[in-house]
Amino acid sequence: MKKSIFIGAFAATSLVAGVAQAQQTLEAILDRGELNCGVSTGLAGFSAPDANGVWQGFDVAKCRAVAAAILDDPMAVNFVPTTGQTRFSALASGEVDMLARNTTWTFTRDIDLRLTFVGTNYYDGQGFMVPREIGVSSGMELDGATVCIQTGTTTELNLADFFRANGMEYEPVPIETNAEAQQQYLAGACDVYTTDVSGLAATRASFGEPDDHVILPEVISKEPLGPVVRDGDKNWEGIVRWTLFALMAAEELGVTSANVEELAQGTDSPEINRLLGSEGDFGDMLGLDSDWAVRAIAASGNYGEIFAANIGEQTPIGLARGLNAQWTQGGLIYAPPFR
């Protein structure tokens, strides 16, 4: 019996070690020396560990920029893989400081779930992918089809609405992870795979024969995807939001990871100066130092660079900028002024 009493010490020890005190998010991160960032369990191009176990991708770059702004180290991020089901609890419980995962900004999530969407870093929409051989060219021809969906997302709600609105029948096959959904789709257990178009493109790129599959033209929903933080910490919300805007503004103003150090010395453009901290004290207002944006941009480049490196047309994912071009180029990416 003595042994079992002693084993109790194990739990007690871990408990003492594990309990963290409640405090402001920024202080907590500075104390910890690390940013806890919730990402998806693996979606090529957006967030997935590479062969060495280092997380890479569009969403991951966002976390690294925030970590660089706060901690001066883009690698000081602890990535917490979350599923569609666990992501909001992980955020609400403080397990992660921010979610940089393909999370759609919706009314209920914003208001009812008390989350704060700091902005949109990718404008997406839900689409369908089918094997080329079944010869379907439009979503309207999908009556009676078996559709693979990932559960715990807005996808299943949009899907129900789409088929209902068009008076069509379908057979949903709910699946937990993207990988398993791909597998079922490839095995022919469903005719159609539906998720955000960007996700479809990423999935298709990972197939052995990408050309055997087509993404149908219908986009059945608006999916503004963006980073999410908890309600109630205004300062932290500001840091994440304005890091995102800094990356966007940097692209608009022509600041890249290559020239950011040089431009930080001071330029003729007051806006760049304010962004990069050589003028004004914006960093101070966030509780950071004046170089915060310089570090964020230097981490993996401005918005355009991140896009091109992870999901752009030169990558296997091959997504066009489309809606995600700068507003000056006819897109929707529009950072409020740094003033």
Binding site: Q85, E171, P172, P174, E176, Q184
Partner: protein, 423 residues
């Protein structure tokens, strides 16, 4: 207790008065003290938890309410035992999930019992090869997690079966079984369904609306079985009185089959065969992959445990019983049926029921293969779409608890009924 107190107690009569120390040292009061202390601690703990919960809910700006059950669910469920569409409420979705849980549980319990009894009896058979084969079955299935078995059966269904498109064309790669009656595809198994040409419509009882035709089928079957029992009782009485047992087998068959056949004929029952139309087969009954994987996974896995229960139940019956039966000239089959099994059942049933409980609880693994049970609807998509973890989880746990308590309550009734009457 030191010796001095004992001496004092023995020499002077006990005081009438009540002293505070008696709460600790007097056997009569000590248990009350302990219980009060325990109660105090427990209430303190509960208050702490509730206070935390209230604070946390307030911090997240949530209230505690089950109103979300009345809101439209918005998602679709593939297997719908009752009418359901995405415009119906979360409560309705939870009910669909609960029914799916119960359907799966009953199917798996039947499979596990059948397999378990066969394997348990065969494991004791004199046949060397059969005995070994059953041992392998029991040990292999018992020692590998049920989740793995479910995934394996799921993978067999999706990976090893042909897609519906393989049935298409002039020279299809796959063909249907049993004279085009059954189609085994990687989306599930399509079997013919019984349809009525003159259907009697549906009955509405609260949230469910079962078909009258099928309710009548249940009544007719129950009635036939009851009538058959009367017939057999009568035969036994005649045998007791005259010593000759009248032949009843053809009457039994007539009573059991006749009314149902007549009923089916009157209602114009016919088989609806599955047919390949568009993307999928239509018509017939669609047993989805998820259901089949769960059914086989749970049924065969638990069957191994049931086999062990059956075996130990049979072994628990003393060897003398078998020998006595042989001495009476009973054949091995009859010995098993008339002497051993009735006695062994008393030992077998309680663990069997707890296996049924396990099956019911394990249906909650449905999500692994996308089976829309209670856990996937109420405990999965609903919680996730509404953000009501606390309420949803509590409700789900209470429902599971109610099912479990019902089953174990049934077991207690059975136990008290078959208990050996001891004098």
């Amino acid at each position: 207790m030191s010796t001095t107190t004992e001496q004092r107690v023995s020499t002077t009569p006990p005081k009438k008065g009540f002293t505070l120390s008696m709460l600790l040292y007097d056997q009569r009061y000590r248990s009350i003290t302990i219980q009060v202390f325990f109660l105090f601690l427990l209430m303190l703990g509960a208050a702490w938890l509730i206070d935390n919960t209230v604070n946390n809910l307030r911090a997240q700006g949530k209230d505690f309410s089950f109103a979300f059950l009345g809101n439209p669910a918005g998602y679709d469920i593939s297997q719908r035992p009752i009418e359901y569409n995405s415009q119906m409420t979360h409560g309705r979705a939870a009910l669909v999930g609960l029914l799916n849980t119960l359907i799966l549980a009953v199917m798996a319990c039947v499979l596990a019992t059948v397999l378990g009894v066969i394997a348990g009896v065969l494991r004791l058979s004199n046949n060397w090869i059969v005995g070994r084969l059953m041992t392998v079955y029991v040990e292999v299935f018992r020692n590998i997690p049920t989740l793995l078995w479910i995934l394996i059966f799921g993978a067999i269904m999706t990976e090893a079966m042909p897609a519906p498109s393989a049935f298409r064309g002039d020279d299809p790669a796959s063909s249907m079984l049993f004279n085009d009656a059954v189609a085994v595809t990687n989306r599930g198994v399509y079997v013919p369904a019984i349809m009525f040409a003159r259907d009697l419509g549906t009955l509405t009882i609260g949230p469910v609306s079962p078909s009258i035709s099928w309710i009548l089928v249940i009544f007719i079957v129950a009635g036939s079985i009851w009538a058959n029992k009367l017939l057999i009782n009568h035969a036994t009485r005649v045998q007791n009185a005259t010593g000759v047992r009248p032949k009843t087998w053809w009457k039994s068959i007539l009573i059991l089959v006749g009314p149902l056949a007549l009923y089916f004929f009157l209602l114009g029952a016919h088989l609806d065969y599955p047919e390949l139309t568009g993307f999928n087969f239509s018509g017939g009954t669609h047993l989805r992959n998820s259901l089949i994987a769960m059914w086989l996974g749970l049924g065969i896995y638990t069957g191994a445990f049931v086999a062990e229960n059956v075996r130990s139940g049979i072994l628990a019956i003393s060897r003398g019983q078998t020998e006595a039966a042989f001495a009476l000239g009973l054949q091995p089959g009859k010995t098993m049926r008339l002497i051993i099994l009735p006695q062994a059942l008393r030992v077998i049933i309680p663990p069997l029921i707890s296996q049924y409980l396990n099956i019911t609880k394990n249906t909650s693994l449905g999500l692994a293969v996308g089976y829309m049970d209670l856990r996937s609807t109420l405990g999965g998509i609903t919680i996730n779409q509404t953000g009501r973890e606390l309420e949803g989880m509590m409700l789900m746990m209470l429902i599971y608890l109610a099912i479990s308590l019902t089953i174990s309550g049934g077991m207690n009734v059975y136990n008290s009924r078959v208990k050996l009457k001891e004098r």
